[in-house]
């Protein structure tokens, strides 16, 4: 999965986010309507598509969608 495909999945999963509005440099905490619930949604989404169960600490240490993508790529390598 390339980063654009990853972004499309996030956009599809988050109701508040319009298609085509996220960039690799977008900080996910600054996404429209971000709440603690969205951290859960992101963890479930990553688990579903990458079979990686992120911890709360791992997620808190990340900022942008690119950071998250890179972490997943290194875990799957």
């Amino acid at each position: 999965m390339n980063i654009q495909e990853f972004i499309s999945i996030i956009e599809e999963e988050f109701d508040e986010v319009e298609q085509g509005t996220l960039e690799p440099t977008t900080s996910f905490r600054q996404m429209e309507g971000w709440s603690s619930m969205h951290a859960l949604i992101l963890i479930a989404l990553v688990d579903n598509h990458f079979d990686v169960l992120l911890t709360g600490e791992e997620l808190r240490a990340l900022n942008t969608i690119q950071d998250l993508y890179d972490l997943l790529a290194s875990k799957k390598a």
Binding site: S36, M37, A39, L40, I41, I43, A44, D47, N48, L53, T55, G56
Partner: protein
């Protein structure tokens, strides 16, 4: 070979309701649509002040006995009461319930303060008593009153949880019925869902009463603390394995299960699990919209409603999985009687 079966389930909800329009009066910065979208819940039932788990179970047992006047309650020879809202430190609440229900004195009584996996553990004990021939009619009473340990300003917990009681009659049978069980436990997760104070290890004190003087009953039963993210991670990690182990232990294939009834933890956890376990929507039963998460009662409430809706028929194989506080988990497969 001797087996055991679930013969009847009766449910009791307290009278007082808490719907989303009540909630937004307490939390004016939220709106009803947001609550429903996030939690999938419209209503919960709330106990009366000082009402205990055994009061709700008593009423559930009474409805069962009223519904089946021909059933001789003297035949009940074992009573299990599962609740985290017990009456006293001593005696057991099952003993109190036994007396209130006027049951035969030749009847064993035990309490189980179990939580989310409690119904599965209760069924396993009932099944063991019946299959071993030590009992013939087991009454499994489960009841939880999570709202008694939720702070009035805790938005998430007030949205999620509701109170209820359930009475299940389990009887010996020569047919297939309750199958084999899988159990598991990981005490490292204790801190992620806990009611610490108001206990033997951490009783409440003057400071506590002063701090919570405006809360109903001074929050003297304790205050629930939940790390929702960790509970969701635990569920995503553990439940798919529990599902596989439960199939293996019962020598059944995934496709042979007619209905999956999980502990009704939350809309988020259930939909993530349904997707992860690749369970077809029509085989995955969800029931929380009008009652919330009722802890140990969530599985019997779901079973009762699935049966009323015609989604559970005689001979159906239904997988029951309980998981949560502890962490504790358990699973079994029941061939519906």
């Amino acid at each position: 070979m001797k087996s055991s079966k679930i013969s009847n389930i009766s449910i009791h909800f307290p009278k007082q309701e808490l719907n989303n329009s009540d909630l937004i009066k307490i939390f004016p910065d939220k709106d009803e649509a947001f609550i429903f979208k996030t939690f999938g819940i419209k209503n919960r039932f709330i106990r009366e002040p000082f009402e205990t788990g055994s009061d709700l179970s008593f009423k559930a047992a009474e409805s069962f006995l009223n519904e089946f006047p021909n059933f001789d309650k003297n035949k009940i020879d074992f009573l299990i009461f599962c609740s985290e809202g017990l009456d006293y430190k001593a005696p057991t609440s099952s003993s109190v319930l036994h007396y209130r229900l006027g049951l035969n004195q030749n009847c064993g009584c035990i309490d189980m303060p179990m939580g989310c996996a409690g119904y599965i553990y209760g069924l396993s004990i009932a099944n063991a008593m019946l299959v071993s021939g030590n009992a013939t009619n087991v009454l499994l009473l489960v009841s939880d009153i999570p709202t008694s340990v939720i702070h009035s300003q805790d938005f998430d917990l007030r949205c999620i949880f509701g109170d209820a009681g359930a009475a299940t009659l389990i009887q010996a049978t020569e047919q297939k019925g309750i199958g084999k069980f899988v159990f598991g436990n990981d005490g490292e997760g204790a801190k992620n869902l806990i009611v610490e104070r108001g206990s033997t290890r951490a009783p409440i004190d003057k400071t506590w009463i002063e701090k919570y003087k405006d809360e109903p009953e001074y929050l003297a039963h304790g205050k629930m603390e939940m790390n929702g993210l960790e509970i969701a991670r635990f569920s995503l990690q553990r439940v798919p394995t529990l599902l596989e182990e439960t199939l293996q232990k019962n020598n059944l294939k995934f496709e042979e299960i007619d209905l999956f009834v999980f502990h009704q933890a939350s809309k988020f956890i259930l939909s993530a699990l349904q997707r992860k376990c690749k369970i077809p929507k029509e085989k995955f039963y969800e029931y929380y919209e009008n009652v919330g998460n009722t802890v140990s009662c969530s599985i019997p409430i779901a079973l009762k409603n699935a049966q009323l809706e015609g989604k559970l028929k005689k001979g159906d194989k239904v997988m029951l999985l309980g998981f949560g506080v502890g962490y504790t988990w358990g699973g079994t497969i029941v061939e519906w009687a």
